[in-house]
Amino acid sequence: MTSARALAGLAALCLAGYVYVYTSGIAPEPIRSDGFSYYVYLPSVFLYGDTTLASVARDCCGGAFPENTGILRWPGTRRWVNVHPIGVAVMQSPFFPFAHALTRWTNLSPDGFTLYYQHAAGVAGVVMAVAGLAFVRLLLRPHFSDPVVAWTLVTLLLGTNLYHYATFDSSYSHPYSFLLVAVFMYLISQWYERPARRTSVLLGLVAGLIVLVRHPNALLLNLFWMYGLFLPNSATGLLRMYSRHRTELLRMAAVTCLVVTPQLLLYYQATGRLLVSSYGELGFNWLSPRIVDVLFSVTKGLFFWSPVLGLAAAGLVLLARSANRLRSFAGPTFLLLATHLYVIASWWDWQLGGSYGSRGFVDVLPFFALGLAPFFEWTSRSRARLTGASVVVAAAVFLSVFQMLQYWHGLIPFNDMTWEQYREVFLRWR
């Protein structure tokens, strides 16, 4: 199996999964739950020329967004503030004009929420996930054999909850963040080889979008300066490189600031402040993070629901010890995964609401791809290892896909799963 064919097959599988979700009736329309508040900027700006969201509120909801949308009136100004930033809408925007033109053509209601708008937003998420896999391939391919990259892509999509967020919940932010983090890593590897102006601009653009899609992911931008930092005797060389290419660094920072500016202006328009915590009283419990629950619990544990990521974590150790050029990512990846974990575990709702598996980690799955590839390379060196690993990975992928289908069909609850519930439905369809 070549990695190009694997990617094509996975793209087809994502599209098939999406079609199944919306033709079988197991899910309502794609723009729902968090997907609504991520998307709502598009009809507001393109259909009403309104950045306050008030026009959409009038049309869709009789003047006031329901509380469960996470779009709240700011106490001082009575204007709408959305807990979800504009990044997803920005990335969905190329799909919106097609949906609108088709809506006019078919004479559907041009309100931003009828059939074509719904599936433009839904399919956009599928495209983002597949594009993310394509960038993971681009990142890995020069450093690993083609079959290793192919199996990494297959395992990453089917052995984790990425497939769920590429299909069933494709209007959420996670496939977008997954793509952006994959592109960011690819561009970093390019920039450190040749710090060209184009790469700097693209890095700035992607960094800005990462922040726009999900503000806490701004932490992941640290990957840029951490790249290679943990290799022996690298610090001085890196400082010299930064000094030599400081114009490029400034260019990158300027583009990032430019990309983030519209969000700050929106916050200012709604609240009179540039920086806003739209979650109000809800926030972080920094002194009592639920780390064990986030990693291992039956409720939403990362390794419980995507056990194959345990192998990826082991693979990251292999990468750090190897001579592979991508080992420059290994140290930063460990550190940033730990930080990401701490942030999620400290959030008041560490389950992140209704979700399949630990959805906050979908954003950083490209980090785990860096571990899966060395793991597969390591297993390919001996027949015994290969056989053993094949059995374990196949079982983990089967479990992940089966449990995802159980979630789709309502056998696994949206949140607060208990051991009793899990035992009752384990490998059962009815």
């Binding site: 009789g62 078919t106 004479n107 559907l108 309100d111 929420f113």
Partner: protein, 146 residues
């Protein structure tokens, strides 16, 4: 040369497929049963099937109909609730505006304009306020007179 021909054939096939799809989507038959902006169907205490609109709902009626009758009513959650005003449009032209001051069913009889170019016409209902859970007004089955 062969490669150029293959490309030209592929481009031609793509244009043909796109034209076919657009021609089909201009007036597809599934529109007659398509609706948006409604909650699921329920049965009222008088046995009448109805569904709540959200802030904006739309559905389609056959364009050869002369008149449609749309049964609508508003239900208050508290006696202090403000009356709901609904605006009804056909193919984006306002045909009626009703304020519901009671909780009775109102049979809105709407004459459809002539000169239709499609098999169906789009009817939109927009309300100026909603009750809890984005419930606008109740709409029962539409009667079509040809």
């Amino acid at each position: 040369m062969a490669l150029k021909e293959t490309r030209a054939t592929s481009a031609m096939a793509a244009v043909l497929v796109l034209t076919g799809v657009l021609w089909y989507l201009r007036d597809p038959s599934w529109l007659a049963s398509y609706s948006s902006g409604f909650h699921p169907w329920q049965i009222a205490s008088d046995g009448r099937p109805y569904r709540w609109t959200k802030g904006h709902a739309s559905f389609f009626v056959p364009s050869d109909a002369r008149r449609i009758t749309v049964p609508l009513r508003s239900v208050n959650e508290t006696p202090q609730d403000w009356p709901v005003t609904a605006t009804i449009t056909i193919d984006d032209r306002v045909v009626d505006r009703v304020t519901f001051r009671d909780e009775d069913w109102h049979e809105l009889s709407i004459r459809l304009p002539g000169n239709a170019t499609r098999h169906v016409r789009r009817v939109d209902i927009t309300v100026d306020r909603v009750r809890s859970r984005v419930r606008g007004i109740q709409a029962a089955t539409v009667e079509v007179s040809r």
